[in-house]
Symmetry: C2
Amino acid sequence: MADRPGEFELIARFFAPLAEGSPGALGLTDDAALIDLPSGHQVVATADMLVAGVHFFAGEPPADIASKSLRVNLSDLAAMGATPLGYLLSLALDETVDSDWLAAFADGLAADQAEFGIGLLGGDTVSTPGPLTVSVTALGAVATGRALRRGGAAAGDRIFVSGTIGDGALGVMLERGDIADVDDDDGAWFRDRLRRPTPRLDLGPRLIGVASAAVDISDGLVADLGHVCEASGLAATIEAGAVPLSPAARRQVDNRPDLLKSLISGGDDFELLFAVPDGRKAAVEALSAELDLPLTAIGAMTAASSSESAGPAVVHGPGGAIWTLESGGYRHF
Amino acid sequence: MADRPGEFELIARFFAPLAEGSPGALGLTDDAALIDLPSGHQVVATADMLVAGVHFFAGEPPADIASKSLRVNLSDLAAMGATPLGYLLSLALDETVDSDWLAAFADGLAADQAEFGIGLLGGDTVSTPGPLTVSVTALGAVATGRALRRGGAAAGDRIFVSGTIGDGALGVMLERGDIADVDDDDGAWFRDRLRRPTPRLDLGPRLIGVASAAVDISDGLVADLGHVCEASGLAATIEAGAVPLSPAARRQVDNRPDLLKSLISGGDDFELLFAVPDGRKAAVEALSAELDLPLTAIGAMTAASSSESAGPAVVHGPGGAIWTLESGGYRHF
């Protein structure tokens, strides 16, 4: 067993400070947290669990593990158009976790709390003989009945994505040694995008009234677009050449054009994909300028030829050929 | 890897049916759940994580693992006086978990959902090379500003506990082979109380306006009373002989009187301990009769001799001697 304090001291030392900005956390000393919801709003709740060796690489900096665990949940809130209220954190600590690790993990959470304006509300800390496991539940608020859903798109709606696609997949490839000839700066970029994805909390709530459907890209662009298709009873067509790439990802694709398929079917981008009726495209352009965030049209929703054919997205390669992508998304499971 | 379906099919087959009664779960097919809160209420949120081999015994019936995971969280809501709204479930499945296990686990959840009037709201399902790990976040509602807290007790308040104390501890002892001469019926009772504790959801909300402080007994009666003392800046005295025991536990203590110390310092009872101003004792008696639930006075809150001495509860043994209990509670951690 690594050198770390018992449960109560551990909570008091590393986690109670993270709850100081959340009065409803009651200092993490009561049975549950109390959270005020703005009137006219619904609670938005989402949970993700991350396991060492499965969802992150063992030996990653603890602050990055903290960031990823928190941000993938905040990304789900953003996809619903919600504003975050706070989060609960349950940690199963393996024998390698010592006080230094916990301090660095808490520092990572503190930095993200400041960045996203949230606080720790509660949770649990236990020991495990297995791998370190991090379970986060994020709570948010959205005006009642106004949440963005996956199922609201209509045929003809344009499909947009925020930011750039594929950096997370390249980060995974880099960690696995599947790509070479990556200079240090590009490597650092891919790793940072993989480990510290940016939940689009500024964008999500602003898409209410603009987007007809939205999803965050966690299973891969093609798979998550497929979720929107299924929920909306539609199909979709996207142009692979229109998918926005970072300069670093562009350099990889220029060297190995076949990589593009992996990038648009890979997961871990945590960008938002959303459908927009044709008449609201100007609002998207205005949002992009205001938020200084690329919002790129990559295709359109189309009618499904039958209810059975809802779901698959047709991907046109840069030459116009239809791509069949082997993976329906990146599955950690 | 055990025979079980992939993540999406697994969710559709075993967990989506559990969300059918929760419209805000959106069929578990969106990024997050949407939950309506009654007006004038706050959200109450709590999370507990259970690890196979640490918090439950490997090989326990899956339905019991499901029950315990859910009920320990509902007990926290009850301790705050909250009414449950639903729960999120994150599961890390090890290689022993197959479809039969999942079906039995889901059946256990379904039975408890019916009993407690709640539904599944969301969650996550992942694979782990380590032990099965279950993480539940329960959400509830309480009238704004009315939640029961640990810190509201005053010197002179009577201390009550619901139900009976020590059955859970005896269940642990039985599983470990630390007690013998237990007949089958008593053994089944101890195991059931350990594995399927009863969250006092009927009692908790009714204690609002009656109790000055409340806590659920998860760390052990003495330790959890200590939490109330600390939060209230008080000390406490309890009479060990007044602590209510089930007939089965009474039989054990009659044979081995020293066991009583273990029972009142052991955890896993998930009864409520609460403080009541002297003038409201009649309300407690009325509640006990109405709910057909024993509510037993076991002692009183007392002034701390100094702020440093808040916390420890003084336990008077049946002969009047002051007991010093070695364990400050049962620590899974």
